[in-house]
């Protein structure tokens, strides 16, 4: 493993530990534009969004929805949930990446 990869590994560790900044900094902020809950949006525009209602429940099996353990609402719990999500996410991303690499097997 080269030096740059090692440096990035260290950065990844720091980013995981500091990840709660990503929610605490915007605790009282709304959602990103276009990422609102469908029923809230429907009330906002006074319009029944039938297609959206149907498609929005396409996938309901997210284990850590919104990068949190369901029910961990307060700042402390949400921060711990966020760190757990960061660790799980990094593991899944690396797992998927190496699975794809095995399939592609570069330079072989």
């Amino acid at each position: 493993m080269d030096r740059l990869t090692k440096t990035f590994l260290a950065i990844i560790g720091v980013l995981i530990i500091l990840s709660p900044i990503g929610i605490l900094l915007v605790w009282n902020y709304g959602d990103a534009w276009g990422e609102w809950d469908p029923s809230d949006l429907s009330n906002q525009v006074h319009e029944k969004l039938t297609g959206m209602e149907k498609l929005s429940s396409t996938w309901t099996h997210a284990v850590l929805p919104d990068y949190n353990v369901p029910g961990w609402e307060d700042k402390l719990h949400a921060s711990v949930g966020y760190i757990i999500s960061a660790v799980v996410g990094v593991a899944l991303v690396l797992g998927a990446y190496y699975a794809l690499m095995k399939f592609v097997s570069p330079s072989s």
Binding site: L4, W33, W59, G89, M101
Partner: protein, 219 residues
């Protein structure tokens, strides 16, 4: 910038799946060009991209935005590598964290895994001949992220004209909103992060700085 399920109708979603097939195909095929030494680096950069997207930044209008890290990957490894790597991140985010969507997955890949790294990379390549390459990388990241946000804004905003009952806002609303969040908050953040990373790489391992070049890969 993650379009959730329900905001784009079936025709729009299908259109982007068809558009993305050649990009995914080319990207995965391109991975064979990777030098064995680059394999772990692209892995950590993919994890890096996942993590930087968790850093929601406050936008003055009360919303949030985040950076993607796509231009960094495009410059250090190559834009096609960024396409694959960010597509992996978006898939994990949609499946396990409910961020983005399944029906909108291809549209999100088009914005963040194609438009962003390619615009960022080529902006960098053009500017690099005229100005300092670290500055060129920062500006590339800025332009790439803002362009991707505007393209996402157009997708939201064209939806009411294609099929009703999904995203209710036309592009007169969605494009300025998406552009604003990324022009003032996420764009500058992307520029600073990208320039800092590239400055460090140039200083510590200058030989890696040019590894994303097609010539260097063949040589």
């Amino acid at each position: 910038m993650h379009i959730p399920d329900g905001y784009l109708g079936p025709y729009t979603c299908m259109f982007f799946y068809i558009v993305m097939i050649p990009f995914w195909y080319k990207g995965i095929k391109w991975l064979k060009n990777l030098h064995p030494k680059q394999v772990p680096l692209l892995g950590v950069l993919t994890a890096f991209s996942f993590l930087v997207m968790m850093y929601n930044l406050p936008v003055p209008d009360g919303t949030t935005a985040h950076i993607v890290g796509g231009t960094i990957i495009a410059i250090l490894i190559g834009p096609w590598a960024a396409t694959v790597s960010i597509s992996i991140v978006l898939l994990i985010q949609a499946l396990f964290f409910g961020d983005g969507g399944i029906t909108t997955y291809a549209a999100n890949c088009f914005n963040m895994a194609v438009v962003l790294p390619f615009v960022g990379y080529y902006t960098y390549r053009v500017l690099r001949t005229k100005i300092n390459d670290v500055a060129a990388a920062g500006i590339g990241a800025y332009v790439g992220l803002v362009t991707a946000a505007i393209v996402a804004g157009f997708e939201f905003g064209l939806q009411p004209y294609i099929q009703q009952g999904y995203c209710p806002y036309t592009f007169w609303v969605s494009v300025p909103a998406m552009a604003f969040a990324h022009l003032v908050t996420a764009g500058p953040a992307a520029a600073v992060v990208t320039a800092t990373v590239l400055w460090y790489v140039k200083k510590s391992q200058p030989e890696l700085f040019s590894m994303g070049e097609p010539e260097a890969l063949r040589g």
